[in-house]
């Protein structure tokens, strides 16, 4: 083989045992598919390959070595895919950052050697798919720790504590999930409508990599999942067969007249990233979509459901790893998907590779698969020692309420419980019977029940109730416009006693 040209495979490469190289070479070099469809152009596999070699040439020329940590803060674009393939090929440790959220503190904590971001001074060609400039030789940052060739990816964990944690994953972690999940994703001749962010592992490992390696056509929605009209237009135009998204995206689609028809026409796709509500479970029942469950620490696949099998809180069954439920109801997993550990302050806090990893999710094992109960972080203990699982109470209330009713159970004083509820039009109020049933043995601690305009309920991007934002609004700023009167326990008891 010739050497000395960036496009050629060097002798040094031939000595490597990098598992990605053969996959990438055979899947992309000189082939028409996979195909990336962006609003401003269509990129066939052969061009993805060539672009990745141009990137590799530039990165090598800059002095980067395998194991050097490279931060990618590009949006979903051809350059993102080309850089990803170059990093996998060469064994760079790639840190995935959301576009526009790069801080010196993050770069320093990750101990990044090179940042690649879509910004004016980044050495990227503005007029040509963000490929690196010929003459640009980006200055490498000084680093504190040595290269980490055993770490393939640094991905931000989706912890609810508000403190960013970076999960270190190996090539074997990523490949184990791609290999366990891909056969069930039905990606033969697929046209995937892509809405997930690729710097999240759901988008990267469950959607992008399997679709690329299956030779699929990937149609990227410019506005992600935020604009259901765009999804419907692209769905029709490209006759899409797959859609992977969070529940909120499917809820938005279902609000559109043609949304249900699009969802039912899909040949595959994974719904994940947030709990499945009863309403969504009913709407997706009988489709060919699957529920998916995982965490960044699991690269990210832990469980997958059967096509069309949905129920409230469903998570699917373990795939590619082992799971167990502790006596406290906590879900744990172990297997080849288990991360290397957490990365911070330029060092790895290693995870026992054989050990069980706690997910922080409380679940129930049912005959149909795992069922989500609550995040353990969302649970709290009252002063009397009683543990409260607010999500479970809210879920029970939702089951008896109109479709769009919202609930928040919290404690204001560590001794009693409060409930805020809201609905479209503000006509709904939970009945005393439903309250007693939902709160169960905690009912006597329910001190106040108030209505709140449904627009005042804060949700995360994934559509989950944002408890932190709710608490801030209630206590920090005091801006929650509470409606109605508090319903102290005695009045409820009176009503209950009459019923």
């Amino acid at each position: 083989m010739l050497t000395g040209c960036g496009a050629m495979v060097s002798a040094a490469e031939s000595r490597s045992e990098n598992p990605w190289r053969e996959i990438i070479y055979q899947r992309f070099r000189g082939l028409p598919a996979p195909l990336l469809c962006f609003p401003d152009g269509i990129i066939p596999a052969a061009s993805i390959w060539t672009g990745s070699r141009v990137w590799l040439d530039a990165l090598r020329a800059s002095g980067l070595l395998p194991g050097d940590r490279v931060a990618c803060a590009l949006p979903p674009c051809p350059a993102f895919v080309q850089l990803l393939l170059a990093a996998l090929w060469e064994g760079y440790t790639l840190a995935l950052l959301p576009e526009g959220h790069v801080s010196e503190e993050t770069l320093s904590s990750l101990d990044i050697r090179l940042l690649i971001a879509d910004q004016p001074d980044a050495g990227l060609r503005r007029d040509h798919d963000n490929l690196p400039e010929h003459s640009a030789r980006p200055a490498l940052r000084p680093v504190k720790s040595s290269p980490t060739p055993h770490i393939q990816l640094l991905a931000r964990g989706s912890g609810t504590s508000g403190v960013s944690k970076w999960v270190a994953l190996s090539a074997a972690n990523l490949l184990s999930v791609v290999r366990s999940h891909s056969p069930l994703l039905a990606l033969e001749e697929a046209r995937v409508l892509s809405v997930l962010p690729w710097h999240h592992l759901f988008g990267l490992v469950i959607e992008l990599l399997p679709a690329l390696f299956a030779g699929a056509e990937i149609i990227r929605a410019e506005r992600g999942g935020r604009d259901p009209r765009e999804l419907l237009t692209l769905g029709l135009e490209h006759q899409v067969t797959h859609l992977n998204a969070v529940p909120l995206t499917f809820l938005r689609l279902l609000e559109q007249p043609e949304g249900e028809a699009l969802i039912r026409s899909l040949r595959g796709g994974v719904v994940g990233g947030a709990p499945i509500s009863q309403y969504l479970a009913t709407a997706l029942h009988g489709t060919r979509l699957r529920v998916g469950y995982g965490q960044t620490e699991a690269a990210p696949g832990i469980a997958l459901g059967e096509p069309g099998a949905f129920f409230e809180g469903c998570l699917g069954s373990a795939l590619g790893c082992e799971t167990r439920v502790t006596k406290e109801g906590m879900l744990e997993f172990r297997g080849p998907n288990l991360c290397l550990g957490l990365w911070g302050h330029a060092q790895l806090v290693a995870q026992d590779p054989e050990g069980w990893r706690c997910t922080g999710d409380l679940v129930e094992a049912t005959t149909l698969g795992l069922r989500f109960v609550a995040r353990a972080d969302d649970c709290f203990k009252l002063a009397n020692g009683r543990m409260v699982t607010p999500a479970a109470i809210e879920s029970a209330l939702r089951a008896k309420a109109p479709e769009h009713a919202r609930f928040w159970v919290f404690t204001a004083d560590n001794e009693t419980l409060s409930l805020l509820y809201g609905s479209k039009g503000g006509t709904y109020a939970p009945s005393p019977t439903d309250l007693r049933a939902a709160f169960g043995g905690l009912f006597h601690l329910l001190h106040e029940v108030r209505a709140l305009p449904s627009s005042e309920f804060h949700h995360t991007a994934k559509g989950e109730l944002d408890r932190r934002a709710m608490r801030l609004a209630l206590h920090g700023r005091g801006t929650l416009p509470l409606e109605g009167l508090s319903a102290p326990v005695p009045s409820l008891e009176k009503q209950l006693s009459r019923s």
Partner: protein
Amino acid sequence: MTTPASPHSDHDEKAAFEAIFDALEAPEIDVAWKNTAAEIDATPEMRKEAIAWVRNHRNFFVQALRDVNDPIDLRLTLALRYIELKSVWIQFNTTINYCLMNKGEADPRSLLCSSLISQLLISVESLLKPEEVEQISNFLNTPINV
């Protein structure tokens, strides 16, 4: 590669080859090449040279197969000539991709030759069985020292 099953199928196969040769040498293919070349931003001289170049490839292909009588060797010759044409196309495609990535534009001569030879490849491919095309494609795409 598979071998013919019987003298009867040998005869049928040779007839099929003759039909394809006739199609490859028909005036219509020259018109198709000229139309393809006209769509590429190049000088008339470049287009003329490229059409002459692909015509030579076509002539050599047909003559090489006509000179072989034995059906088994005919299929081997077909496979070898197909591999040669496909290799030429792959090389043009690779060069064009790098030029587009690095400079934002590619040499019109390469674009012309790549487009014309891909048309010839489509015609030649019809002489091969799908599994033979797949086998050759896999071989040409087998990683070297990866």
